[in-house]
């Protein structure tokens, strides 16, 4: 019933556009007319009970934070407008920090983006606050095959605990080791198949130690290595990673058999697990040995610039950084990728994070917003994103095209895709109260990584996190 009324409103809406009435006073009269039209259209709608989408039109706004992806999405918006001439999409790109402030402010003012790129770290709070629309009715009406269209597992990331779907997966990312092939060749280190354990670090630590060079040219595993005067670090620490360690330590802890909680939305956290704490202890030992900068030393210019400058031989990070790292190639820097090490479980592990687009609950044009979201989640747009070779689209065929496009650019991204083929991914920890968890875990991890507290202090942090849900 609700839908049919909506049909009437929208048809009347198109009449409005042709009349080109834009003044507010007239708007009021018009709104009344729409209401009447809607009621009159009701029986018509019932008889014309077709599953086809109602005609949507108007201008909608779309927000994203990654400037690297802006050209591809501009192309998608242009193609979309060609296919749906009545809908125009205005794209705005804002850097990460300001982006989320803007999204939140938009919810309050009601003038925010109609559609915006969302992140798993934030969408649970949007769901709780009723800021975003569930897509289930639209999906059912338009027969979108959410379960079978995307890479396995990605759609479930955007499902709330009560089973509602809030987004269609658009892309995914995994973790690998970025390294400088000039340095590994000079050291004679083979990066292709490293293994790791929390006791002696395995061949992973051996490689890191050998790649570390002090200012006298002595390597980290040689006698007389001066850890106070390191010229090139073996590996970079990019912050502590807080409670997720997405790019920093989660691939090690998971390869050690650890899970942050018992699944998406679960509130039973495991920061007290010895498997987690021994991983962090080993990780911190790298900076004590001089193979990795200390927490204070890494505070400053970011990891990718340090890698490109030859100040560090390798760094673990996500697939979304591929474009900018490989773009920094120089005489000193030959970028290359290696898969994360195999852990005590006998497997590699990588956090599996995926983005999707959400529709603001305050959107004045949800139908047009849905048409755009549906287009973003379709092969038509994801193939365009694939061709841009910046991220991995969520539809498997588009993923393959992106891998091929990156290969064609001379970038071997198999270190990222190996996790998909080997099924060694684990999901990004989706949780309610994420920012409060971060408030507890960030300082706790910073204290451990700067040597101010023992890893056992993370047990107290775990208690504090669990107390949030009591």
């Amino acid at each position: 019933m609700h839908n049919f009324t909506a049909v009437g409103v929208r048809e009347a809406g198109s009449w409005l556009e042709t009349e080109n009435i834009k003044q507010r006073k007239k708007m009021k009269v018009f709104k009344r007319a729409v209401a009447i039209a809607a009621v009159l259209a009701l029986p018509l709608g019932l008889s014309a009970c077709a599953p086809a989408a109602p005609a949507a039109e108007g201008t909608i706004s779309y927000g994203l934070w990654d400037s690297n992806q802006l050209p591809a999405y501009k192309q998608c918006a242009a193609d979309f407008h060609k296919a749906n001439p009545k809908i125009t999409v205005n794209i705005e790109q804002v850097g990460w920090d300001d982006y989320w402030k803007k999204v939140n402010a938009g919810f309050v003012s009601g003038d925010g983006y109609d559609v915006f790129t969302s992140h798993l770290a934030f969408y649970p709070e949007f769901v709780n606050n009723g800021n975003i629309l569930a897509l289930d009715d639209y999906i059912k009406r338009d027969n979108v095959d959410v379960a079978n269209t995307y890479q396995p597992g990605l759609a479930s990331l955007w499902t709330s605990p009560d089973g509602k779907q809030y987004g269609l997966p658009k892309d995914f990312d995994t973790i690998a080791l970025f390294y400088n092939k000039k340095l590994t060749d000079a050291a004679g280190v083979d990066m292709s198949n490293l293994d790791w354990n929390p006791t002696d670090g395995g061949t992973y630590e051996k490689a890191i130690a050998h790649l570390t060079v002090d200012k006298n040219g002595k390597r980290g595993d040689e006698a007389g290595f001066d850890k106070a005067h390191v010229k090139t670090y073996g590996i970079w620490m990019e912050g502590t990673g807080g409670g997720d360690g997405q790019t920093q330590w989660s691939f090690l802890a998971a390869a050690n058999g650890w899970k942050v909680n018992d699944g998406p939305w679960d509130t039973n956290y495991h920061y007290d697990d010895p498997k987690f704490q021994e991983t962090i202890k080993w990780w911190h030992s790298l900076s004590e040995k001089g193979y990795m900068p200390t927490f204070a030393q890494q505070n400053g210019v970011g990891w990718s610039d340090q890698l490109a400058a030859g100040k560090v031989a390798m760094a673990s990070n996500g697939s979304w950084m591929t474009g900018s790292v490989f773009g920094a190639k120089s005489d000193k820097f030959e970028p290359a990728l290696a898969p994360t090490p195999v852990g005590p479980t006998g497997k590699r592990a990588s956090m599996y994070n995926g983005l999707a687009d959400n529709i603001s609950a305050s959107s004045k044009n949800p139908e047009a917003a849905w048409q755009w979201v549906k287009y973003l989640g379709s092969a038509a747009c994801q193939d365009v994103v694939a061709a841009a070779a910046v991220v991995f689209p969520a539809i498997p065929e588009a993923t393959d095209k992106a891998v091929a496009a990156m290969q064609a650019k001379g970038v071997d991204v198999s270190a990222f895709s190996v996790h998909i083929t080997d099924k060694t991914t684990f999901l990004f920890p989706i949780a309610d109260k994420k920012s409060k968890i971060n408030d507890i875990m960030n300082p706790a991890m910073e204290a451990v990584m700067s040597g101010k507290a023992d890893v056992s202090s993370l047990t107290a942090a775990n208690d504090a996190v669990k107390a949030l849900f009591k």
Binding site: H229, Q297, N299, G300, Q306, K436, E446
Partner: protein
């Protein structure tokens, strides 16, 4: 009996005449200061996440604040910043101003001294963040070249002093010019008399310059201290409050609590606390200012 009536009428007409003149300022004051201020005080007694209507919870935010170590940390961190920033900045600015007064009249030099103040805060912060980087920064590269141990400018101990000094660099020229203007107002014959009496450079400074400069110094302090307490941008683009809360000043904490955690009620309570503190400090300073008319008046 007619007199009061006349007076009353006169006052009324005065008010009507004054209104258009005061109007623009009153509108600005109400829209940007009074209404948000009163609303902020109201919100400090509520639980409010901006998506749902505020819920009145009495003094809960304030009891939570008093028990919150992060709040007290913000107080100490902010004080640490203000003391380092204002202390060094004022002494340096005074020194530069006196040098300008005694040795040069060159407008070019005055221009150069003011130059850092003309850059945007954010750009200054970012450039210094690069310069002081442990591995790539110019400063540590120079230290390393002379075989001096490199220095971590952004550890939990050094981060706050580093940021305070960056802002000294930016503001010292401006402060120096304010003081310099004050120095210009001191009559030259006082210095001539001191010279005749055989006073040296230091004695002249201590017994003439400093006492006659007191009102200007007090004015400069009110402006710089109040600004210093509200330090935000430099930290927001560099350490963002870390490591381990070491640079989490009031402004950073308020912004994190409000926009990071959507706890706008609690953030309002912290803002009210900051407002009360700044009012007390400003009041004390104004007292100091009016109690110290220039010694020239005596």
């Amino acid at each position: 009996m007619a007199n009061p009536v006349v007076a009353k009428r006169k006052r009324k007409s005065d008010f009507l005449t004054a209104l258009p003149f005061m109007g623009p300022a009153l509108i600005g004051l109400s829209v940007f200061v009074l209404i948000p201020g009163i609303r902020g005080i109201y919100l400090s007694f509520t639980e409010y996440n901006i998506f749902r209507a505020p819920k009145f919870i009495g003094l809960d935010n304030y009891t939570r604040m008093i028990a919150d170590p992060v709040f007290w940390n913000a107080l100490w961190v902010t004080l640490e910043y203000v003391i380092i920033n204002i202390g060094i900045q004022t002494v340096l600015a005074l020194f530069i101003a006196v040098l300008m007064q005694r040795y040069t009249r060159s407008t070019v030099i005055r221009g150069i001294i003011l130059l850092p103040y003309l850059f945007s805060n954010v750009i200054v912060a970012l450039v210094w963040y690069w310069l002081t980087d442990y591995n790539l920064g110019l400063i540590n590269s120079v230290l390393d070249f002379f075989s001096i141990d490199k220095f971590t400018f952004f550890s939990d101990v050094t981060a706050m002093p580093t940021i305070a000094l960056i802002n000294v660099w930016r503001h010292v020229g401006y402060t120096a010019l304010l003081i310099f203007a004050g120095l210009q107002a001191i009559p030259k014959d006082v210095y001539d008399a001191a010279a005749v009496d055989g006073a040296g450079e230091w004695r002249t400074f201590r017994s003439i310059t400093l006492p006659l400069l007191r009102p200007v110094l007090a004015f400069v302090m009110v402006i710089t201290v109040t600004g210093s307490f509200q330090i935000f941008d430099t930290i927001a683009v560099t350490t963002k409050g870390g490591p381990i809360h070491a640079t989490e000043t009031f402004s950073i904490l308020i912004s994190k609590t409000a926009w990071g955690n959507n706890e706008f009620g609690y953030a309002s309570a912290i803002s009210v606390a900051l407002m009360v503190m700044l009012s007390i400090i400003a009041f004390a300073q104004t007292k100091l200012l009016s109690a110290n008319q220039s010694d020239m008046d005596r």
